[in-house]
Symmetry: C2
Subunit: 443 residues, 2 copies
């Protein structure tokens, strides 16, 4: 859970303007008081366009946080696709649907690494990871999964068990250390020794299942370790971890919910971290806000799962899913988003790296395409995480009209992950505000 210094504290509702206070009160009564809101002073938006969000007073916020509206908030082509298809037909998959099939074909073509593959649509990333984990269990006859100690892959019982999993001690689940050279397991290791240490931990997590008599099913991993704080992994870590999993008879599931759909400058994060999946899961930006997610996998894996379960998802694989998914792919290709992300991402990274040395609280700057994590620390020597500092920066940026949020396993990173239409001029405006906020941070 993120610290109260950056999220809204219900105890301070009295300090809000009357309209906001009343909406907060109604929201707590209807949806529950523990339902969190971003920022010390919560925001209510009424309109979005491109990478901008507007509140009821017409104030303009530059969105440097939201990854779901990846081709832009309220994008006209996506809106037209949903409106036109919903006005025509929206049924389930017990009938034939050309838009669904055409979309599935086009999506699979972006994943040549899977070879001959099938895709199953779901409504959320949680559902996609549920399918993937069940699929891996059926294929292997195993039960045990490995993941990182900083994982988050969804909120069902099966998938939610991976959240912040301990290294050992949960049934069917062993976590291995996040391969983060910024905080190595012990000091004095060479880069090579460090890589070996991380892989040894992966192997130990796998071997522990054999010792415990739990048959092994596989690994579920975000391809860029997004929730783990985008660590600068040792080279070849992902491929070598995948090889260990396969040697032990397990299935490699790569979660592309955050990394996929051009976020890193490639179609898929695994193409950047150079590892080949057996199963790929995806979600968030896939429908630009429509609940659309999927699990793609090698044909043998999907066929077995489909035959054994008769899986059916009422709301998924509909013509509306197909039409909207296709509109998002159209926009990603029309705008040559991969090149755009690579260019703007590199520009923003250079800017952040030029600001970082001025502030001793900034311990590290990590970036992959248009996805950044800025490590906030008590000081550079101790590297002790400073979640309150990261939260204060996010609130200060909000007050200047720029949206970010804290992230990372210790909630001490400032996460920058804008819609992919974020451009160089937006990056410059953001960097100016960020430099101002950083300059005001007490030493």
């Amino acid at each position: 859970m993120v610290g109260p210094t950056s999220y809204f504290d219900p105890a301070r509702a009295g300090e809000l303007d009357p309209r906001t206070a009343e909406l907060v009160r109604r929201r707590a009564a209807a949806l529950g008081p523990a339902y969190r809101l971003f920022y010390r002073e919560p925001l209510e938006f009424v309109r979005g366009e491109g990478a901008h969000l507007f509140d009821a007073d017409g104030n303009d916020y530059l969105d440097a946080y939201n990854n779901v509206p990846s081709v832009g908030h309220a994008h006209p082509r996506v809106v037209a696709a949903i409106a036109e298809q919903a006005a025509r037909l929206n049924t389930h998959t017990r009938y034939l649907s050309e838009p669904t099939v055409a979309y599935a074909e086009r999506l699979l073509a972006t994943m040549p690494e899977l070879g001959e593959a099938h895709v199953m649509f779901t409504c959320t990333g949680t559902e996609a990871n549920e399918v993937a984990m069940q699929m891996a269990r059926m294929a292997t006859g195993g039960r045990g999964f490995i993941c990182t100690t900083g994982a988050y892959h969804g909120n069902s019982e099966l998938v939610g068990a991976l959240t912040d999993a301990p290294r050992r001690g949960r049934p069917n689940l062993n976590a291995f250390d996040v391969p983060d050279p910024y905080r190595p397991p012990r000091e004095g290791l060479t880069a090579e020794q460090l890589g070996e240490a991380y892989l040894a931990d992966v192997k130990s997590a796998i071997d522990d299942f054999a010792t415990a008599g739990v048959p092994f099913a596989g690994m579920l991993l975000c391809s860029i370790l997004a929730n783990e704080g985008l660590p600068d992994m040792p080279p070849r870590f992902m491929a070598q971890a995948a090889a260990l999993v396969r040697e032990a008879g397990g299935i490699v599931i790569l979660d592309e919910v955050q990394a996929g759909f051009c976020r890193t400058g490639s179609w898929w994060g695994y193409q950047v971290t150079d590892v080949e999946p057996d199963i790929v899961t995806m979600g968030k930006p896939m429908g630009n806000g429509l609940p659309l997610a999927a699990c793609a996998g090698r044909r043998d894996l999907v066929e077995r799962f489909r035959a054994e379960t008769g899986y059916f998802n009422t709301f998924s694989s509909t013509p509306v899913h197909g039409a909207v998914g296709m509109a998002v792919l159209d926009k990603l290709e029309d705008r040559n988003i991969r090149a755009h992300v690579t260019d703007v991402g590199a520009h923003l990274l250079r800017g952040l790296e030029s600001i970082a040395p001025s502030c001793d609280k900034i311990g590290d700057v990590r970036g992959r395409g248009l996805f950044f994590g800025i490590e906030w620390v008590v000081d550079r020597e101790s590297r002790e995480p400073d979640p309150a500092g990261a939260g204060a920066v996010c609130n200060a940026l909000r007050d200047r009209g720029f949206l970010t949020a804290p992230a990372g396993p210790s909630h001490n990173q400032v996460k920058i992950r804008p819609p992919l239409v974020f451009d160089r001029s937006m990056a410059d405006a953001f960097l100016e505000a960020f430099a101002d906020v950083v300059a005001a941070v007490p030493a």
Copy 2:
């Protein structure tokens, strides 16, 4: 799994017209060959309106099956709501959203039986039941659930375990007999003794947990036992089963995914079967096709769950969810759907009951509002289920332009569950076709 006599058999793809055969081939390649299609000859629709679906050749099918488009396929007001809100704003719930709060308030007002309650939105019924079961476990500290032997509540690992659960033998799960007087557990019981026998089985399922040392969490039950075949339960069965659950410290979760939103002529199925829930789950017709579902519960239950889990669902509780959900409620109220369902449902039931005696294969006709199950049996004496017969009827109706599908624990019911805008003239057309099909059934 439903029998191949009613679903499409891929081995017979060669008998299809070339266009359909090609789409079937592409679908199998992209989505997997085991992905089932309704009917011996699959249908591809291109347009929907009200209770009608149209194929590419302009053929008109009367939809007597689909419950999701409850206010009608492609309803203009629902389409306008999604188009307008998606064009304006669609973000997640870490920002304030008036449409979401207003919708939650209005929805909760239809469930006075919950008292002071909160609602949590999800994207699918599976996700709603995941939340409900986790919520019940947190509230009770228990693990064990009871359900019926004919249950289906979703496809995640936790919720999917309830599907066709055996009476005993699975961890944390005991099923009790479907209270179906048409197939009593033994002959010669009076109605009163039969009711007692079913309740004794519920009690035995609960008590078994105590014997096994498994702390009890509660019961998950469809309020009208839809997948169990809409049995004509003994009076007060639901309320008495709920009382047994509460006596043992368990939580009563009622699944309204099929029964809710006026399907039975009341807002909620539990109002018809006269039982009070602690938690209510809902889905299918809620967004008329948009992935929208929810779990509503007593405030103490929801607050504890929210505080313990920090549950967040990216695609849920959005302004688009709020706007679309509100448009559906508007239509249900504007058209006075509850009175309409009661009237048309009674009319259709009378018609079905007048046809039934003419065919010895029809063992029983069950109905709740606009939801019917017609029991197909080998003969009325043995009452042996005849899934092939039910499948043949559904295929014959399809060939005449009327959509139904087989259902029930033995897949031997013809399920009639049209959009709620189905009217008397549609019912008459359906009854005429049904009478024709029944007349052609071999004795």
